[in-house]
Symmetry: C2
């Protein structure tokens, strides 16, 4: 598959396609047209066909896509056929919500390590996992071969946390701290800041 | 200001510029170059200058930007000079975390109404606000003139919730339910789904 030059914006849509295909499977669909996919996603059918064409042929013109097959292929492309162990750093209110979120495993992720720096929290159990001292991050992340982390610490601690994670060979960071973090080349970062999302909308109000 | 045809991707970067400017103010900066802004944001200085040029002249070539002035102008452009009242629908673990998040007000938002459909939660107080019955959404959202809502309900309830919000004249929806929702033209939607963000990164691992 000629995947070497896929634009990042296309990559960003693939998880949405996969998510929608999995709802279609639950609903009993076996075949779906690019029109139906597009209707559900608010994306044009032509865009969907063009996006998928980066990765090969997934359907015959006019015949629609085999839902299960396309879903399995997208899981393969996105490297989520298995389950990645994930470290969660910061177990405040948001960290608790993330630790208890039951939507990760079916998408290819499981929070297997939780860290906090609050002595009152260290040793407590959240969602069946012990909260570890952040001081133990390097050792535990290394032992567990963790490559993905979720950062839910205050802004003031975010960069230092990320620096440790990067030294521990973490290569993908989902950052909930409302601040831009710096990482070396080869480390992926995605940011979630609800205020940023809200401001993007108020522009249009 | 010739703001009528600003690409959405440019609009999406403005809140990041504003966020960084506000950190610079806290750090005591009065002037910032596009190079320093770019370094902090991982965006090229040329891109920043081009983005801002959509909205007028904010600095002289070589002199840098007046941090407070640019911040105030971006607040004006993004319509976050005041504080928007926001409705939060769904008060599970994530809803609780959002209700208690203290980063909204300085960014132009305040959660003023909280709703849930669980009789055990209705009437309880979270972050100083009473949890209301979702059945009272239409009346209360209308009375409070709410235009912005955060949806933190299960996927199965998301579309029905959004339909009610849209009928109540809500025009901007931050959707945490991991499902695509449909809205009529003129209603803004932003989606936050951590699994989607994670999958976008595992593609590169």
């Amino acid at each position: 598959m000629p995947t070497d030059k896929v634009p990042d914006i296309v990559v960003g849509r693939l998880p949405l396609y996969l998510r929608t295909l999995n709802y279609l499977i639950e609903e009993g669909y076996e075949i779906v047209s690019s029109h139906e996919l597009g209707r559900r996603l608010g994306i044009s059918p032509a865009q969907i066909r063009k996006d998928l064409s980066h990765f090969g042929e997934f359907g015959k013109q006019g015949a629609g896509y085999d839902v299960k097959y396309l879903s399995s292929q997208l899981k393969h492309i996105l490297h989520v056929e298995g389950v990645w162990p994930v470290a969660l750093v910061g177990c405040g209110a948001l960290g608790h919500a993330l630790a208890n979120y039951n939507g990760f495993v079916t998408k290819g992720f499981e929070i297997t390590l939780i860290f906090d720096n609050d002595p009152a929290k260290i040793g407590q159990v959240v969602a069946g996992k012990v909260i570890h001292d952040v001081a133990d991050m390097p050792r535990l992340i290394c032992e567990h071969g963790i490559r993905i982390a979720i950062v839910a610490v205050p802004s003031s601690a975010a960069q230092a946390t990320v620096d440790v994670l990067v030294r521990c060979q973490v290569r993908a960071i989902l950052n909930y701290a409302p601040i831009n973090i710096s990482v070396p080349p080869g480390v992926q970062v995605q940011n979630i800041d609800p205020a940023v999302h809200l401001q993007r909308m108020t522009y249009y109000l």
